[in-house]
Structures are given as C-alpha cells and as structure tokens.
C-alpha cells in the first residue's frame, strides 16, 4: 500500500439534499495513469473540486469520506493548499495570458525575483524579476515535454496544441508536483497534437508522477491509461485494469441502465417516408457547441433525438437553424430552401424552438405568462393584434383567452395568466416556452434540453406533452438532450453528435455499448473489434 500516492476513500457529496457523489473510492499509484470516465453530470467535476478544495465544496457543507496523500490523511480547504500538497491541474480552457512570454506564463505568480532598492523599502512585491533563471526553469520544463519552442516567445498566436503544453509545463515546473489532473486535455486538440500530448503524459508518468486523466475518448483511455474508473450518476460503477477490459465494456458501464426505460411502444407510430427537413453540411459557430459539418434527414411526423456529450455540438444544430448563432450550410425545409442566419425567416417558415437557455433566451421573465405565450405569434404572424391603421395594438382579450386555453391544455400551474414568468417553477416555465412555440403553429418543433433543471415529476409531464403533440397533431419534433434515457423513452431514432459531426444514428432500442461508443467517438473502434 505504501506506493499509493493518493487514496480517495468513501467520498460522498451532497448539494442541498441532492446526492451527487456516493462512496467513491479511487487509488492512484506512483507513475500510474488513472482514467476517469462518465457522462456529463456523473460527478467527475465534483470529485475534482473536492480534491482541489474548491470553495464551492466547503460553502455547501463540505463532503464525507477521506482523502489521503501518501497514506496520510489530508484536509484540503483551498486550491492553494492543494498546490502545496503537490496536486496540479491542466485546465480544459487555457488560463494563459496572451501578451506574456511562455516563460512568464509558466512562472506566473511564482516568479523568481531579486531584491532591489525599492523592494527593500516597499516589500517583496517590488523585487526585480530574474528573467534568466525564469527562462532556465521554463526551458527545463519544456524540455521534459520535448517542446523545442523558444521560451521567450509570447503566447499570443501559438497553436492550441502548444498552449496546452505550456499549461502542462507550468504544472510540472511547480516543485514537488506529485499528482497531475488532466481535465479533457485533448478535447480541443487536433489528432496529431493529441498524440503528442498522450506521449507526454506517458513520459511524465514514467518520472513517477501520478496522473488522473479525465476524458470521454475511449480510444485514448485504452491507449494510455493503466486503470479506468467509471462514474455514473455520482456512483462508483467500476474500477478496472485496462488490460482486463475493452472499449465496449467501458462504454456499457458508462451508459448503464439504472432505470428501465418505460417506452410505451409504439406499433402505430405514424412516421412517413417524406423528408421534411434535410440538412447538408451545416456549420454553426456557437461557442462551446460548435457544429462542424452535419448532414441529417428528418422525416415528417417523427420524433428525432439528438444526443451526445456536452460541448460536442448537439445544441448548435437547433440554434444554428433558428439563426441565433452564425451558421452556413444547405437546408431544405418543407420543400423550400431555408435561408440561414435569419431568425424571422425560420419562424415564418414554420419552425418552432424551445431553447435550452430557458431564462436567457426562452422567456421575458419580467412579463406576464400571457404575453410570453402570445409574443412570437404576435410579432411574426401578426396575430392577437387590433389594427388601428397607424398603430397595431395588442388585443388583450384574445391574448387572455388563448393563454387560458394553453394554461389548461398544458396544465401550467400559476396564480393567473398575468403572473410574471420569473415567478414560476422550472417545469412551468418550460411549459410556457412550449406554449409560446405552439402558438406559432409550427410544422416542426425543436426542443433543446426540455427537462434541464426541472424536477422528476415535471420531466415526465414535459416528455408526455411532446409525445402527445407528435401523435395528436402530427408535429415533427427534434429533441436535443444530454439525458440519453429521456431520448430513448420517446424518440423514433437518435442521432449521436460527436465533435461537431453526426457520429451515427441509432434506434432507441440499441444497446448501451453502442450508445457509449458513439458518444465517445469510438464507433470505429467497435467496428474494428467486431471485424477482428
């Protein structure tokens, strides 16, 4: 046991009565690369926050369990203490200052200084920087990583791959670094850069540093890791030696099926062969959800699910088609070419959109339920208006009548139609958003993350509502969600988006392993295996 660098023992964490981590046990040995994998919300970030003593953990009541470093129990209360214990982190987003040189970035806040006259009077913060020594140290760190780049070039304009390496160099330059956490380091890298990074990780591990490698790319994990721990919904599912497992098994463990999907099938699903929406080579510049060339066909009357991990671009599709983020590509909707980057045109063509950003984009929180419901139809289709010639006034009577109908149909719980939407619960807000989209009489409805941030009871209601709209009115629904289970419960087929592209289209009844592999962008891996 003495060669264990880090022991995480029975760690649990609760946020406001909501268990997000349950009895996690992880051991990390010297020179070991330990992969951590799990869907979004599986608890990876929370676990790392605990390890780094982030304030968010302690301000919400701390955690249960023990953390030991080199078999000594430690109590890490701030990120600074974590640093003192020799824990370092390579961030997903680069925390580098573009105008500074590589050496300056590496040495940031740990500068080597020499005293001068001013500093003798005013204190240590006014000492002169010892550039020579700083550059030497930086050089050493860069050499460890086989980086042949000059330490005195500025960071601005460097390729992304290099920036990642500078982040790593900064961590290994810290004296006494024992444990390094890589949080999805390859997510933003090109393939060749990612290969280099993995090589560097192996090299670092060989010097005795323990590495925790968070990633969703199964092939990489198989490639570099010694062990893998799978988390799902805050639970520790399994820890396996890589040599005893396979990508397919890991994928299966990651998706799992805790709750059986109650899919009220569906013999009389009336999908047609008629294509209502055809997307060709769609690119959307949505920050964090970039879409890079998607081709997709949607049949009239079906419920299409769009799944995938966060940041892979699944949310970008709807936002791009609705003109909220700049997009390019060729879209044929309902037989006509759809002009992109024109929200009004998309709405007029008959596309409704329930945004994933309910409070930001979906609602006017300061306005009444009735106005929220009627707003789009009023502005775009000139409904609910009294025409006075010069001015078009809103027709409060009509709006009220329609709102009351919607409130009844969708079972929106509110005190009155004039209640402000900001006062409603998440589920009811979501219903108002749906009501607004329905008031436009759309032919096709995009629903993004319909159950995000609402409680379980309301989730089911919202899903039932979507199913009902589809069955009763023949509305084509495209539902984007991070929760695979809910996609599988109502969709006819599910497109999995990975790295801005469609990785594949699956039946909701496909196996967990298939979903897992696709979400990790490793479907090729599965093919190879089944081929061999």
């Amino acid at each position: 046991m003495s060669d264990n660098l880090l022991n995480i023992k029975n760690v649990s964490k609760e946020y406001y009565g909501n268990k997000v981590l349950k009895n996690i046990n992880i051991e990390l040995k010297k020179g070991e690369i330990h992969a951590l994998i799990g869907e979004n919300g599986a608890g990876k970030s929370t676990l790392m926050n605990i390890l780094f003593g982030m304030p968010v953990i302690h301000s919400t009541g701390g955690f249960e369990g023990k953390i030991e470093i080199e078999d000594k129990e430690v109590n890490i209360k701030t990120p600074h203490e974590a640093m003192d214990y020799g824990i370092g982190m390579v961030h997903q987003e680069f925390m580098l200052i573009p105008g500074f040189t590589i050496a300056e970035n590496i040495k940031l806040n740990r500068e080597i200084t020499n005293p001068n006259i001013v500093s003798k009077v005013f204190g240590k913060r006014y000492e002169t920087l010892d550039y020579k020594k700083m550059n030497e140290d930086a050089r050493k760190a860069l050499d460890t990583l086989d980086m042949d780049i000059d330490e005195f070039t500025t960071v601005a304009g460097l390729p992304i791959g290099h920036m990642q390496f500078i982040e790593i160099a900064r961590e290994i330059d810290k004296t006494g670094i024992k444990i390094l956490v890589f949080d999805e380091p390859t997510a933003v890298l090109a393939e060749s850069e990612a290969k280099n990074l993995l090589k560097a990780m192996k090299k670092l591990a060989s010097t005795g540093i323990g590495i925790i490698f968070i990633s969703h790319r199964l092939d990489e994990i198989i490639d570099v890791a010694d062990k893998v721990t799978v988390l799902r919904d805050g639970e520790h599912v399994a820890t396996k030696d890589i040599k005893d497992t396979s990508a397919i098994e890991i994928a299966q463990l990651m998706i799992g099926r805790k709750v059986s999907i109650d899919r009220s099938e569906s013999a009389e699903r009336k999908t047609t062969d008629e294509t209502i929406l055809s997307i060709k080579d769609l690119h959307v510049a949505m920050p964090g959800e970039r879409v890079m060339g998607i081709d997709l066909e949607v049949k009239k009357g079906e419920i299409l699910g769009i799944g995938g991990l966060a940041g892979q671009g699944k949310l970008g599709i709807a936002n791009g088609l609705m003109g909220i983020y700049p997009a390019k590509g060729e879209i044929i909707f309902n037989g006509n070419k759809l002009e992109l980057n024109n929200p009004k045109g998309s709405i007029k063509a008959g596309i409704g959109f329930v945004s994933e950003d309910r409070k930001g984009i979906g609602l006017l929180l300061e306005e009444s339920i009735e106005l929220n419901i009627a707003f789009t139809a009023m502005q775009i289709n000139n409904e609910f208006l009294t025409d006075l010639g010069l001015l078009k006034l809103k027709n409060s009577g009509k709006i009220r009548k329609h709102a009351l109908e919607m409130i009844k149909d969708l079972d929106i719980r509110c005190t009155s139609p004039s209640q402000k939407t900001g006062r409603l619960s998440g589920g009811n807000q979501q219903k108002v958003c749906v009501a607004r989209a329905l008031t436009q009489n759309p032919i096709l409805l995009f629903v993004s993350e319909p159950t995000r941030g609402i409680d379980i009871g309301a989730k089911k209601l919202v899903l039932d509502l979507l199913l009902q709209l589809n069955q009763e009115y023949g509305m084509t629904v495209i539902m984007t969600s991070s929760e695979l289970a809910e996609l599988r419960s109502i969709c006819d087929k599910i497109a999995i988006i990975c790295e801005g592209k469609v990785e594949g289209i699956l039946s909701p009844l496909a196996s967990d392993a298939e979903f897992g592999l696709m979400m990790s962008g490793s479907s090729k891996l599965a093919d190879e295996r089944s081929g061999s």
Partner: protein, 354 residues
Amino acid sequence: MTEIKENRNGFKDIVTKIGLPTLIIAAFWILTLVTAAFLDMSISTLLSDTIKRAGMNGILVLAMVPSIQSGTGPNFALPVGIVCGLLALVISIELGFVGIAWLLVSIALAIPIAVLAGYFYGKLLNAVKGSEMTIATYTGFSIVAFMCLIWLMVPFKNPKMGWFIGKGLRETIQLDSVGGAQLLNNFLEFKIGGVIIPTGLILVFLFFCLLMWLFTKSKTGLAITAGGMNPKFSIATGLDINKNRIIANIVSTVLAAIGIIVYSQSYGYAQLYNGPLMMAFSAVAAVLIGGATASRAKVSNVIIGVVLFQGLLTTALPVANEIFVGTDLSEIMRMVIQNGIILYALTQVKGGDK
C-alpha cells in the same frame, strides 16, 4: 393581531410598488410645503407654479420612456431633439407665422427634422452598444455646441429674433412678439381657490401621455420593450433589435422636439445657444424619481416623476431662500437637488442586464 400584520404587509407592498426613492421625495416635498405654510408663503402660488412647470416639462420627460424601454437607457442626448424643435420654431418665425399658426407650423416642421436626427442618433447608439449613456451625454453636449455655430450663421432676416447689431440669432427670443407666449396655458385656463390650472397645457401633455401609452401597448412598442429587457430573447423571436432601437430613439427625439416647443411657449421665451445644454438632466431626474429605472419606464413614472420633481424644485427653492435670508442659495440648491437625485436614482439601477 392579524389585522396589524396585514396592514404591515400592505404598507410594504405600497413601498415596493411605488418605490422608496419616490416616497422619500414625495415626503420631502410635503415637508417643504408645510414649511412654506409656516413661513406664510402663498401655497396656491407654489401649487400653480408646480402644475405649470410640470406641464411645461412633461413631454420632455415623456421622451425618456421609449429610449429607456428600448434598452438604450435614459436619453441623455435629449438636446438633439431639443435643438430640432428650436430650429423648427425659429424657421416658423422666419416664415412669418404668428399665434396658433406659428405653434402648429413649428410642430409640423419639428417632426421631420427630429425624425432625421433621431435616425442618425439611433444609428450611433447601435454602434456603441454597452456605453449608451456616456455616449448620449456627450452627443447632447456636442450637438448644443455645434448648433451655437448654426444659430450664429443662419441667414434669417426676421428682426424679432436677430441681434440688434451684427448677424445671427439672439440668445433669448421673446415669443410675445409672435403671439406665441402662453398660447396653450391660456386655453380654457381657470382657477380653483387661487390655484391656476393651465388647461390647454395639461391637456396637450396628457394627450401625448395617452399616445405614448398606446405606443407601449402596440406591436412595435412591445417589440421595443422586449428588445430592451432581453436582447437574446428578441433575436430568437426574429426581431430586428437594431431597427427597434432606432425607432425608439426617433420617437424619443421627436417628443423632445415637440416638448421644447411646448416648453418655450409656456416659458414665453425660446432659449438658443447654451439653453438646452443641461435640459436632459432634469428630465432624467424626473423620470427616475417617478419610479423608472435605467432599463424600465412607464408613462405613470413620467406623470408622477415630473410633478414631484418640479414640485420639489419650485417649492424648495423659495423656502430655502426664505430660511437663509440674505443668501442666494436657489441655484446651488437646484443643482444639488437635481444632480443628487440623478446620482441616487442611477445607483438604484440594477446592473448586468445589458
């Protein structure tokens, strides 16, 4: 017990509904009125002045509503509209109109000029999103300075407004000479217990309030409001926010132009050159006192605000002069009160909504 509790809740509701600043100012105004009564000053004169000044300034304050609603903040560039109104006013005099014809022609001329100016001003604001208030303030100052040149150089020949020697227009133009002074004030004017009610002036103000209220309930008005409240929502709804912001600022500028004409006729003088320089500030202060914020304003805020603000100014100054005999505090007091109110109101603005 429960009754008391309910009462307390009721009081709290009133405070949140009307707004604490509004209540404080109202209380302070009543206090000065009481003081004035103790000092044997004529309350009826003070009230008459208050009503008259509220009517005079009302439309200028109303001009704040569209710009605030559209998300560009209080229209600190009110002078842009004001100089448009003044320009129309002097053109109307130059063309030889007098009396009610002068007033109507002034307003008719002011509207197209202000629409044009408002359009370009709106374009400017769209180019500087995020710092509208600062840019607006300096736009206001710049346009006043620029117009100083114009007032000097226009080749108008009418002796009623020229300098006695040299070229250019006078600083203050007496509207008596064109039969334009107190035209609206005198219309159906009557007295209740010594308080003079300038019926015409009040009616015109209320008429514009009604128009503005209808506008906020219209399709365009709602689109403008939505754009101000939640730009992302508006984009997703397919609204053209930039266009709506321009429309809002055109409406605001036109109201400012008409507002200064109504103001001038009541005052009896048209003040050119540096006259409009600081006018935006009292209008902003008034609407903020009325309970508006830098991102939300209603017509009711305008009516409450203009009465309170002008009431406080017209009452507090004579009272202050009476108390501190021998000093002339009035101008200093006015500046302190007016700018203090703006400062206070702006600190109440809830940030981060842009």
